[in-house]
Amino acid sequence: MSSQTNITPTTFSLYDQTFSSRIFLGTSRYPSPQILVQALQIAQPAMITASLRRQGANPEPISSGFWEIIKDLKIPILPNTAGCHRPEEVMQIAHMSREVFATDWIKLELIGDDYTLQPDTIQLVPTAQQLIREGFKVLPYCTEDLVVCQRLVDVGCQAIMPWAAPIGTGKGPNNPYALQVLRERLQVPMIIDAGLGKPSHACQVMEWGYDAVLLNTAVALARHPVRMAEAFAQAVLAGRNAFEAGPMNEHHQAKASTPTLGTPFWHQAESSK
């Protein structure tokens, strides 16, 4: 008997909003605006991240006319607070983002260490709480620390975004045990944000039950970013399907898949002696 569900593998909800994709994409470091657009079109992300900087200060070729390119795609924007080291900076950037992008969504990035770009987990929780009080839909970039993640949920975060590894490293899940325990312990939607390098990394975390992944560098710096965007989209879907299908239990002893009974020539060698 097959079980029926109303939820298709790609349906995903955050803060009561349903998304038709489980992949989120960053928009930085692509070789050209055209390649960015093609990557977004093929991956069909739930949201795309964007940031705010002083006018004319961004050296990337894509920054010129970035908004005109992005707004025409009609993909929801997830503004980030990248580069913020103090809660006060986060609050200012969040409010400016709300006005510029006309959205309450905010990817909370509060950096505590410049070498690893590790979030400031001490200040992260009160900052998330303040943002929520001011009406933002907060997606906090955090580590895999279970207690910090629990505290983020306690103050009202309806989803969290633990890293797999430091931003831009492409190392894949650095701490598989902690990430799996985190998934088992917390019930809110969780998006793996940062550190994924290959589609197999994305598939792995999706098999563990993570709800989505957020990528940038792994796609943008691939030799063929558009094909890599497609590969990640397929891997995310495969991982989610595998999680929902329920993998088999692992065994130590081999067990033949093909039935043994009726095997031709069974024991004939011994009987002909």
Binding site: T27, S28, T49, A50, L52, R53, N58, E60, F66, N216
Partner: protein, 68 residues
């Protein structure tokens, strides 16, 4: 009157000691969309006409860029 706009010293033509943010934007003409902070504090668009800018104030005019 001189103010800092995105850390660049900018001379403004005004006869008084104060000028509103709305008046400054007519002179500076930034490319939309943008948001503004005065001396590190976000100023909502609706407050531009009432926001006084004086000599040596610092404005940040920021716009969308790529992000991860």
């Amino acid at each position: 009157m001189q103010i800092l706009i995105n850390q660049v010293a900018t001379e403004l033509s005004t006869l008084s000691n104060a000028i509103t943010l709305s008046e400054i934007l007519i002179q500076v003409n930034p490319t939309p969309p943008f948001a503004i902070a005065k001396n590190g504090v976000f100023i909502p668009k609706k407050d531009y006409p009432q926001t006084a800018i004086i000599d040596q104030d610092q404005l940040e005019i920021i716009s969308p860029v790529t992000g991860g």
